[in-house]
């Protein structure tokens, strides 16, 4: 897709050559362009003198190469790279777009001043427009992708937090219902949350319910064991519930040991045991 977009026709090639020549021979346009950059870009992202000169040389070289090879690909790739860096550094799309479009006037004016032939002028300005358009498209693409990544990250983070709520069923008994895949990040997060709650409520028993965990393999079992161990370090006994027939079969076939952690098929059984072990019994009063 990109390779087709970046091909140049005869007129564009000529225009590009005139444009570069016009910008290289007389660099009076530089001041105006620099002023635009300073206005739109955050200070930490502004290149210094040396970087500026080097970048400019590099750009001219790329454009001449593009003209020789009738392909703007290399230049656009560089553009994409630079835009990504700016996006990562936090520069808003608005600023990049504005800076790009603000470049047009001063450069077009300059070309009209230094290039005599009107045909050549037109070709050069057309080439300029083409390059600026492509830059804007790239900026749009880069920011859209980046935004999607950010949203995905935020979403994942939110899911993690929502799916590890510790339920305070009885001050001595805390329940952690797990839903979804348990990876090491999540395991760590849930352990922290659980331990905070244990200490907070001085819980003696924690019931971890894995009914909602789709796959329990050696890695997941490992995470669970680490969590139960951590809980024991702060004085709470762990009970694992929600073991389905599938999970029981997988664990035994894989030879995974859950150590001396009590396990039950469902929450109710775990809760009954927890209450019994703490010396509680439930009595129904005559109504």
């Amino acid at each position: 897709m990109e390779s087709q977009r970046s091909k140049l026709n005869d007129q564009q090639v000529e225009g590009l050559r005139v444009l570069v020549k016009g910008l290289q021979e007389d660099q009076s346009w530089l001041e105006t362009v620099r002023a635009t950059m300073v206005r739109e870009m955050p200070e930490e992202l502004l290149p210094d003198e040396a970087e500026w000169a080097a970048t400019l040389e590099e750009r001219f070289a790329q454009l001449l190469w593009a003209a020789d090879n009738r392909d703007l690909g290399v230049y656009l790739a560089q553009q994409r790279q630079q835009t990504s860096e700016m996006a990562e550094a936090g520069m808003p799309l608005r600023a990049i777009a504005r800076a790009t479009s603000d470049l047009r006037q001063p450069i077009a004016d300059h070309i009209r001043r230094v290039v005599d032939d009107t045909e050549d002028q037109k070709a050069a300005v057309d080439a300029l427009d083409h390059m600026l358009m492509e830059s804007l498209v790239i900026a749009g693409e880069v920011y859209a992708a980046e935004r999607e990544d950010k949203v995905e990250d935020e979403f994942r983070h939110m899911i993690r937090r929502l799916s590890t709520p510790v339920i305070d069923v009885w001050h001595e008994i805390q329940v952690l219902p797990l839903i979804g895949v348990i990876d090491s990040t999540r395991a760590q997060q849930m352990t922290e949350q659980l331990l905070e709650r244990i200490v907070d409520q001085q819980a003696r028993v924690v019931i971890i319910d894995i009914t909602g965990v789709p796959t329990v393999d050696t890695a997941v079992a490992d995470h669970l064991l680490k969590t139960t161990h951590a809980a024991s370090l702060v004085g709470a006994r762990a009970i694992l519930v929600g073991i389905s027939p599938q999970v029981a079969q997988t664990l035994v076939r894989l030879g995974v040991s859950l150590g001396d952690v009590e396990t039950y098929a469902d929450l109710r059984s775990g809760l009954e045991r927890a209450l019994a072990s703490l010396g509680y019994s439930i009595e129904r009063k005559a109504m």
């Binding site: 073991i243 027939p245 999970v247 079969q249 664990l251 035994v252 076939r253 098929a265 775990g270």
Partner: protein, 119 residues
């Protein structure tokens, strides 16, 4: 052949195997038993093999695995009624039933389950 029935007595599940099972039947029994445990919340399972003449190594493994799987689901297993001849054969073959409580009869098995359930 009809599936081996799984009965419930008190709080426990009782599986009475009346004849030798094929590998597939044994595996099917394991599956059904675990699914019953998921629903019934039993604390114990009794597997009565007094109707079995031959207990081979594969069946032993299925039994051991089933006991371990049931344990994960919160139920202890008592294997009862093993015929003398079968017991001798298993011992000669060096087949272990570690992790599985074994007892003479259904009654004894239930007794044991009752006492360990309160532990």
């Amino acid at each position: 052949m009809a599936e081996v029935p799984i009965l419930s007595i008190e709080d426990f599940l009782v599986v009475s195997i009346q004849e030798d099972l094929s590998d597939a039947e044994a595996e099917g029994l394991q599956q059904r038993l675990l699914e019953r445990l998921a629903h019934a919340r039993s604390r114990g399972v009794v597997i009565d093999v007094s109707g079995m003449d031959i207990v081979d190594s594969y069946f032993c493994r299925i039994l051991r695995d089933t006991a371990a799987m049931s344990r994960l689901m919160g139920a202890r297993t008592a294997l009862v009624g093993m015929r003398a001849a079968v017991a001798v054969t298993l011992t000669e073959l060096g087949l272990e039933m570690s992790g599985v409580h074994t007892d003479l009869s259904l009654e004894r098995g239930l007794e044991w389950l009752r006492s360990s359930a309160d532990a």
